[in-house]
Amino acid sequence: MAIIVNLDVMMAKRKMSLNELSEKVGITLSNLSILKTGKAKAIRFSTLEAICKILDCQPADILEFKPDVK
């Protein structure tokens, strides 16, 4: 998919584990894992807002657009 999730990069910058983030954001570890590995089909604004608030970053820091190479 052309949208790349850089959640792991931001988590590394903030030195935050997946468990900690999941607890603070209030979503399950499995859902956060789906998001981190790029398997998610969509993300709710409320989830994005919560993640950005906890990681103190902008949506663009987490999501990136890279066109697919054919």
Binding site: I27, N31, K39, A40, K41, A42, I43, T47
Partner: protein
């Protein structure tokens, strides 16, 4: 005391009904196959006392090829009907129909297989009906279409088409469900 009929109860009743129908259809298919084999290779008299008290002696005496065509069509229709009910039994037995999350991948596959089987039954029933009409036109005496199991070809076709449409809707439902599950 209030008696509540839940999905589990309905499925349980359906399961028993499907088993009864499946056994009946299997016996019918086996009976037709056995009688055909018996008439063809052991005793031609068997055509007179065919399965379900049918008298196919006129047909057998007229032409053996016609007899084979009709009995093969009867067997195919009976076998397809038995397979249809076997698929229903299997789906209920293995709990493929999950009512807590109904739009799973097994559902459209299950409905599609039922649809294609229904169309197959319709096709062979229609073929059998037409074959019977041709034989009657030739002056060969044959039993009633209903008795031979060729009745209701149009109903089977109708059911098959409706099930294909439902299967397509379910397929889309599965896509939406997957998308919903992967929305974080």
């Amino acid at each position: 005391m209030e008696i509540r009929i839940t999905t589990k109860h309905i499925l349980w009743v359906l399961y028993i009904l499907a088993w009864i129908i499946f056994i009946g259809l299997s016996i019918e298919a086996g009976g037709i196959l056995f009688n055909s084999f018996y008439t063809m290779f052991i005793k031609p008299m068997g055509a007179q006392f065919f399965w379900n008290k049918m008298d196919l002696s006129g047909l057998y005496a007229a032409d053996k090829v016609y007899f084979i065509i009709v009995t093969v069509l009867m067997s195919i229709v009976a076998i397809l009907k038995a397979i249809l009910f076997y698929i229903i039994i299997r789906a209920i037995h293995h709990r493929k129909l999950d009512f807590t999350q109904p739009f799973n991948k097994a559902l459209p596959r299950f409905i599609s297989s039922l649809a294609w089987l229904a169309i197959g039954i319709g096709l062979f029933s229609s073929w059998g009906t037409n074959q019977s009409k041709i034989l009657l036109a030739k002056g060969i005496s044959i039993p009633d279409i209903q008795k031979m199991g060729f009745g209701g070809a149009d109903v089977w076709f109708f059911m098959g088409v409706i099930l294909i449409v439902i299967a397509q809707i379910c397929k889309r439902g599965v896509e939406i469900q997957t998308e919903n599950d992967l929305t974080i």
